[in-house]
Amino acid sequence: MSSYTIPVGPLHVALEEPMYFRVEAQGEMVVGLDITAGHVHRGIEALAMTRNFYQNITLTERLCSLCSNSHPSTYCMALENLASIRIPERAEYLRVIADEIKRVASNLFNCAILGHIIGFDSLFKHVMETREIMQDVKETIYGNRMDLAANCIGGVKYDLDEERSKYLWQQMERMKKHLDEIYALYCKNSFVRLRTEGVGVLSKEDALRFAVVGPVARGSGIDYDVRQKSPYAAYDRLDFEVQTENGGDVLCRAKVRLREAQQAVRLIQQCVTDMPAGPTCIDTPPEIPAGEAIAKSEAPRGELIYYLRTDGSDIPERLKWRVPSYMNWDALKSMLVGDKISDIALIVNSIDPCISCTER
């Protein structure tokens, strides 16, 4: 059978952001893939080397909307590692709360889009409506629905008083019932399963070979979560389990994300209960010496790593970050080949791609 080429993107109804896929097909089957990136490349890494340490907190928060808290918090961790700054215990819990709130909203957004792509729009609306609780939580606590502006060098810029703690707890109680319903629906609904089970399979061997991270790796049976492997903030004192699935398909990745959202709600409640009183930030201006440091965190899409190099001035000599989507794109070559053309959008969505993050 002769093969032909289909262009998908860079602008496509099922892609949230621009990316160009050159798909080789035979009949209805995908037999090859080439990816062309760069459509939203903004040169932010270059900008970061012209701004001071404080300005870069604001800049890194604007890399991406869905994991916007992971960037400034990990960047601040790199500065703190370099300067041997120990942030107050209360700030560690507050950082977890901000990160986990973002995780729930981000994971639900991806799972909602899955519903939209398979034509199950009532599911899309239901999941987005549930996510709206988290958006309201963000707006109430931080004053913003996406960028929380929660982090500073040496701690956080917000606190939870008794009233807000109670509100947060109550909203998480509301979330539990909805999340349980949604998870059961993704697991049991025959239409969802028919469209997602066995689709876009990434074997464990390929997941290791492509070095994928986050729910994409955990959906293929790789038991790796930065929160456990390289603990930071208050994660070393919190009770949670790494969520994995072994099937490696679109459904497995969605199930991991939904269980991680359920777990995030419990983590937020643990933090509200366990958080000690005390300061939320160090009380002296940080002194950042010349040197280099690494910081890692588990963003909603997986391992986020920051490398910081300083020369004793207040501007980074080099600031580099690698986002989780970076490797996950290349792994699409394994997921898409052998699947149907009609499933391309579904499989691309299943890596929860973030192009703004990838291209910077």
Partner: protein
């Protein structure tokens, strides 16, 4: 169980001669980071191979060129590896001009995008890269943009709205002057 520090030492000692020093740091949570500067850049492949054998994962690669290095006629690349939660950074030094480094793609598939990215940002050739095309930056933009002294933002579309605004304002004032 042998800890990661002795495992890395054993692996690198077996791969490199003479042995290299690794500076280990540990944060308040007990998370370790190792820093090792390889005396010769051509030791990279052997060192990376030893890490691959240990089950290490390539996390990312950072090329950089600070002003002080430019004056000294050198540049560096830091390769960051994950060893089950511990990060090991191997740094190599390259000359400022005609910098060449071996591709790690035979050992780590994900070196592909990392190497393509630093090839377009800096004037560094990667030997043996299977697909050395531009990754993000369009072919029409001059190569090695991070090596240049021109602000990067002026080379990309980030500067276009300002340029357009200035063109519109210049046109307006010209018309008002008629």
């Amino acid at each position: 169980m042998q800890d990661v520090i002795s495992q890395v030492k054993e692996a690198l000692d077996g791969a490199l001669s003479p042995s290299v020093a690794i500076d280990w740091k540990c944060d308040f949570k007990g998370v370790k980071t190792g820093w090792c500067k390889l005396p010769e850049s051509d030791q990279l492949l052997a060192a990376a191979s030893a890490i691959s054998t240990m089950g290490g994962r390539l996390s990312t690669v950072t090329a950089y060129l600070a002003e002080k290095y430019r004056k000294q006629g050198r540049r560096e690349i830091a390769y960051h590896f994950d060893l089950d939660g511990t990060t090991l950074t191997l740094t190599i030094e390259l000359p400022l001009e005609k910098a060449r480094v071996a591709s790690l793609t035979p050992l780590f598939r994900n070196a592909d995008w990392n190497e393509r990215e630093f090839m377009e940002l800096y004037d560094i050739d990667v030997i043996g890269h299977p697909d050395p095309r531009r990754l993000f930056i369009d072919e029409t933009i001059e190569p090695a943009v991070f090596d240049g002294l021109i602000p990067y933002s002026t080379l990309i579309n980030g500067a276009s709205s300002k340029t357009l605004w200035e063109a519109v304002m210049a046109q307006n004032s010209k018309e008002q002057g008629k």
